[in-house]
């Protein structure tokens, strides 16, 4: 957590020239940094055509047209959908886990990490990886859907007014 704040300070010093805000040495609230940087948010909603399983729409939002490649974006969403399908898959392994849990009056859920939780960790790692490699360099940020109750994939678009070249 401490090192994250330090990284924000680095950004702020670079941004300070164009926005003429005094460079603050001490840690400052996120809100002050938020206003100049964030432009808008795009929400990718759930796709319920196959029922209640967790699946997101692969339709490419129009606001991202200038930012990221359509193919890339659809591939990210499709991989996420596949990962969630793997988490919710009804197969031998999940039945075994369910039956074992039933026999122990579901007390093993207190000790053991479920298959779903393991896949959620995998998804978190994948999103972090995608953000680092593809989206952060383009000024975008994907938020893990679990933090939004598995309702939307929130994509934050950052203004790049201070870095106007090459877009």
């Amino acid at each position: 957590m401490v090192q994250d704040w330090r990284k924000l300070e680095v950004v702020d010093r670079c941004v300070a020239d164009s926005y003429e805000t005094p460079t603050m040495a001490e840690t400052h609230s996120l809100q002050d940094l938020q206003q100049p940087a964030v432009s808008s948010k795009v929400f990718v909603q759930r796709d319920y055509s196959s029922g209640t399983i967790c699946k997101f729409q692969t339709k490419f939002p129009s606001e991202l047209e200038s930012r990221v490649d359509k193919q890339q974006f659809e591939e990210t969403i499709q991989t996420l959908n596949n990962l969630y399908a793997e988490a919710e898959k009804l197969g031998g392994k999940s039945y075994l886990e369910g039956c074992l849990a039933c026999l122990t009056a579901y007390t093993i859920f207190l000790c053991m990490e479920t298959h779903y939780e393991k896949v959620l960790k995998k998804i978190a790692r994948y999103i972090k990886d995608q953000n680092e490699k593809i989206y952060a360099p383009r000024g975008l940020l994907l938020t893990d859907p679990i933090e939004r109750g598995l309702r939307v994939v929130e994509i934050t678009i950052f203004e790049d007014r201070s870095i106007g070249s090459g877009r």
Partner: protein
């Protein structure tokens, strides 16, 4: 060179309203830099739930009849182990307390899990999300009045399903999700709000609930059988039932409690087994969403796998979904300030809930006896119990009549309580209700009427007549 500035940013630390610690572990080191301890998310939870053990346990605001349920189970099982087990171990086999013990442990654990776990609550939409959805719907931009209910239609497995907009949670509800007015939350795969368990039954705790009612029906039937065997063995040799009951008074209480509850619990287990096999929820079954009553001709359940075995496995043995509300996660300091500005009453609600903890028994009493037409059956039951207890010298066939009467009252009490607590669903669809209560009540009325004419004692005949009369009054109260 300028491009590298963005790459220096750690995506986890960027200013989004999400808290920086990972979603499932509330990291305590978030509190080290801040001057005051950060709040956990359960402290600012907007629904009407109460939290204990620092957010590990979640219950509905009104605990309903949970203390009564737990009390009945503990009392009956306690009396069973104290009064019946020693005798049966001596005369039959020592497996009996073992089986009873295992069932008892199962029942209590699953009951506590159903009551204290998150039923599948959907967190409310963030302001940005809500604004985005509003933008998509409101083309005119006129927000001075509440617009008509918004719905969105989706096609699920070639079936048209309407998604409603929830004004409280500010989002379109996913399919099979319903907003519980008692808990003020949207719950996924909402089944019903169970007052006996004191919590909603939804996607995450349905399997606990089902295991609870199935094991409870086994336990009740088991205790009933054992007590009957015990009394029969004691009454052998011409000693009589009354002598047996006087030797073991606990067995009488157990007999009464088990006789009442075994039919309703068995009925409920059967009903839920039917729901599990057809992958339906109580909510959908009562509303008749997929049975063709409210819809067109070709209305089938789009969520069913068309195979009973697969339906059962997917509902009961499927992967356990995670809790979406992350009760024990930490809020970053600015987030708690933001939520404080947006919903000012939320932090004080947490304090209020803590203060109300001593008023819950009163709360329960008020709920039980609050509605109109409610006090009358409750008072009648109490009077009848007193009369029954004082008639200990009456012969056996009268005992059976008395038990039948008490049973009808209990049934009506239960029915009214369920109606009054869930009035909107039940009363509105009373003609379509697919419950086992009405047919079994009708059956009981007929048996009592027949016993009325064959009865030897005038007093019992009059009492049976009053029972039927009161039962009819109760039904009228429910319907009107």
């Amino acid at each position: 060179m300028k491009n590298c500035d963005y790459q220096q940013i750690d995506p986890q630390a960027l200013p989004t309203p999400t808290p920086t610690p990972p979603p499932h572990q509330g990291e305590p080191r978030a509190g080290e830099d801040k001057p005051k301890t950060p709040k956990r998310k359960w402290e600012v939870f907007p629904g009407k739930n109460r939290f204990y053990c620092d957010g590990r346990i979640i219950v509905a605001r009104q605990s309903g009849v949970l203390p009564l349920t737990l009390g009945l189970i503990l009392v009956t099982s306690g009396l069973f182990f104290i009064f019946d087990c020693p005798f049966l171990v001596k005369h039959l086999t020592s497996c009996i307390p073992v089986i009873g013990g295992v069932l008892f442990v199962f029942v209590v654990i699953t009951l506590l899990q159903t009551s204290f776990s998150d039923p599948g609550i959907l967190p409310r939409a963030t302001p940005d999300e809500a604004a985005d959805i509003e933008k998509q719907i409101d083309q005119t931009g006129n927000t001075s009045y509440r617009p008509p209910p918004r719905t969105k239609e989706v096609l699920i497995n070639q079936q048209v399903v309407k998604l409603k907009y929830c004004f409280t949670c500010k989002m379109f509800r996913p399919p099979r999700t319903s907003h519980c007015s008692l808990c003020d939350n949207c719950v996924e795969r909402f089944d019903h709000h169970c007052p006996w368990v004191g919590n909603c039954v939804g996607k995450r705790n349905y399997r606990f609930f089902y295991t609870f009612i199935v094991s409870l029906s086994f336990l009740t039937a088991f205790i009933f059988g054992c007590v009957t065997t015990h009394l029969a063995l004691r009454a052998q040799g011409g000693k009589g039932l009354v002598f047996a009951l006087q030797e073991s008074p606990g067995s009488a209480v157990e007999l009464v409690i088990c006789f009442f509850s075994v039919w309703s619990i068995l009925g409920l287990s059967g009903f839920h087994t039917y729901l599990v096999a057809s992958n339906l929820t109580t909510n959908e079954d009562i509303k008749g969403s997929w049975s063709g009553k409210s819809g067109g001709e070709d209305v089938t359940n789009p969520y069913s796998h068309k195979n009973i075995f697969i339906n059962c496995c997917s509902v009961l043995c499927g992967p356990m979904p995670p809790s979406l509300i992350d009760r024990r996660g930490f809020l970053p300091a600015d987030e708690s300030a933001q939520t404080g500005a947006a919903d000012i009453e939320l932090p004080t609600l947490a304090v209020k809930n803590e203060a109300n903890v001593f008023l819950y028994p009163l709360d329960t009493l008020v709920t039980l006896s609050g509605a109109v037409g409610f006090q009358l059956p409750a008072i009648i039951i109490i009077i009848l119990i007193i009369i029954t207890v004082s008639t200990t010298f009456v012969p056996l066939h009268v005992y059976i009549h008395v038990l039948y009467e008490l049973y009808i009252y209990f049934f009506m009490f239960l029915y009214i309580m369920c109606c009054k607590i869930d009035l909107a669903i039940i009363v509105g669809n009373l003609i379509n209700i697919n419950s086992l209560y009405i047919p079994s009540c009708v059956f009981i009325y007929f048996t009592v009427f027949i016993s009325l004419f064959h009865s030897q004692t005038v007093l019992v005949s009059i009492r049976s007549f009053c029972v039927c009369g009161c039962a009819c009054v109760c039904v009228c109260v429910c319907v009107c």
